[in-house]
Symmetry: C2
Subunit: 357 residues, 2 copies
């Protein structure tokens, strides 16, 4: 393998609400860790989101989509208008921006680590040592946008949503999850589905796990229904190592995982095209939180950790590990303190400096 | 309204695993509370489940279905074979028994109270006073059994699952939820869905809540995405009063709710045909737990509380309240003790006696 590139072109999409605030801190930390290493991140900002939609009536046009495609990676904040802002149709930004990027760039791996950091406070009284990764499918399932309505708006309306699952999509997902599990200490893979009710999709997932599992004799595999998984996520989240699941179950489980590990403000994610034929995208799991936007109180740690995932993806695991270690040290030192958004960024940068001396 | 009947014909379906063990305790408590009140429960037991399937190759035939229909209510334990029992195809008992009953008897209200009882131990360090009810849809959504596979078993397989939602089904559900919310102290109704992604079904739910809401000026309505709901269920479950949601989201949320209120062994449910054109069915939320079956350690409280829900439905709110109070007193006195299944039943009966003196 060739040496990692020293310069990367990054598209930055701060988005709405607290998005720009947390992305600013991620960029601050990324600059602080890359510069001393001689790695350059050339950043281009794209002002997409609610404001852009209100001004132009466009969410994300094909031209911008092609410009985004030319970057090495995308750093994403959050989109979504305030729920009571009636000027913006519900879900349009989520679907035509966030999901359009995930589908358009074939981000079939939605990677969501869940770690209970020292210094972070879990709402569970006995959380144990939580350190797992959810490998969520990103390009099919109920997110496919299939379905419709008949006799719309009448008392005879029928509304359908179709979960579309393909052997191709499930196989590349499960393959990735096995490789990940195999690379970890505990080597444990849990398939989460609901195959007693969703028999068609469930069988496809189970069969794929069974088949690929034969190639990973060191990985221990188990299965859990999604409803049971929410119980274990409450009573024993430390039991999980790698979870592989579909798009919607992954969405639900990772928010719950964010909550049990001390807050969704600490949970990063990567939307990854593992074939690298389009840029991958890194974002906090949390949303735009319009209610606290502008108050300077948003927690930027998830965005900073998303930046670390981006460095990893770009071929700089050492720099990623420096950021992770700095965040860990920062949370240990200041996790329980009330801090402004920019203070957290500064503190993480200070930890980077302290550790590199 | 006429006086409630003094005699009721009850179908008892103990089912598999711990089902028979917990149902025995529910029956013990039901007998103890009804006899002194001069109410008679005529019970007919139906030995359906894994054993029956292995012996006869039938899960639930039409003839039995018609016999069940003639009862006033059904008390259900749990079905489901051990996951490693390869003799029984995955999910067949769940679908052809439990779901067949829910769909066949049009149990469109799946009512699932979640209460943190004094004496019960929540895994949350600061759970607050949890007392809410999930009104889960029971006869449509992703449970409709729609969907299929194409190029089955090949690398080009496509597997679909169709969520079917009707104005009729959503309206009667939401109507019930509003009536329930209106009858409670806090009068708060939360719609849980994912209408930013599942736009067709989501709009139908939201529109129905908006429309019916106008008839309930005293009920405060809010909305939460299912992923956010799992966060609040972790950080502030006491905020919920009545939740209305679809079949799958309700399945997921109520298992999580069971976990945060101290264990799924305390969570009862009612599968209700509110038009009373078919018998309603009452069951614990938990499953058959084959791993602990026969050990005498299963927690029968959920089944006992399901019995109380049945008494309520049969027109005996006073007797239902007696059982609820006895369970509450029992948990307060013995909640943290290690007790056998039958001991718990005896203790609840003793509380009934103590309270009626
Ligand atoms: C905003 C929304 C469309 C998105 C999703 O459902 O995937 C979000 O909840 C997430 O988890 O990234
Ligand atoms: C056993 C299964 C089919 C059932 C469901 O999914 O509804 C169970 O989980 C429940 O919640 O009653």
């Amino acid at each position: 393998p060739s040496a990692p590139a020293r310069s990367h072109s990054i598209a930055v999409l701060p988005g709405d609400g607290i998005g720009p605030e947390v992305v600013a801190e991620a960029v601050k930390v990324l600059d602080a860790v890359t510069r001393p290493a001689g790695v350059t991140l050339e950043k281009t900002s794209y002002p997409l989101g609610a404001e852009h939609w209100l001004e132009t009536g466009e969410v994300l046009n094909e031209d911008t989509m092609e410009r985004l495609r030319s970057h090495d990676a995308i750093l994403f904040g959050a989109v979504g208008a305030a729920p009571n802002d009636k000027r913006i149709p519900s879900g349009i930004l989520e679907r035509d921006l966030l999901l359009k990027l995930r589908f358009g760039f074939d981000h079939y791996i939605n990677l969501r680590p869940a770690v209970l950091y020292p210094g972070a406070t879990s709402p569970l009284s006995d959380p144990g040592e939580i350190d797992f990764v959810v490998v969520r499918e990103g390009t099919e399932g109920l997110y496919a946008g299939n379905g419709g309505t008949l006799r719309t708006g009448t008392e005879h309306e029928i509304a359908t949503e179709v979960s579309v699952n393909t052997a191709h999509g499930v196989r590349r997902l499960v393959r990735y999850a096995f490789d990940l599990a195999n690379s970890r200490t505990r080597k444990r893979l849990t398939l989460v589905h609901k195959h007693n009710v969703l028999v068609n999709a469930g069988r496809l997932y189970q069969r794929t796990v069974d088949e690929l599992g034969e190639q990973y004799p060191d990985v221990t595999v188990d299965y859990m229904h999604i409803d049971a998984a929410t119980i274990f996520m409450t009573t024993d989240p430390a039991r999980f190592d790698v979870i592989v699941t579909d798009n919607l179950f992954g969405d639900i489980l990772t928010d719950q995982a964010g909550a049990v590990t001390g807050g969704i403000g600490l949970a990063p994610s990567g939307n990854i095209n593992a074939d690298r034929i389009a840029p991958s995208m890194f974002e906090p799991v949390h949303g735009s939180a319009p209610d606290i936007a502008g108050t300077g109180t948003a927690q930027p740690t998830a965005a900073i950790l998303a930046g670390a995932m981006m460095l990893q993806h770009l071929g700089h695991p050492d720099l990623a590990e420096q950021v992770n270690a700095a965040v860990r040290a920062d949370l240990e030192a200041n996790g329980s303190a009330q801090r402004s958004t920019s203070q957290v960024g500064d503190d993480v940068v200070a930890q980077l400096g302290a550790r590199s001396v």
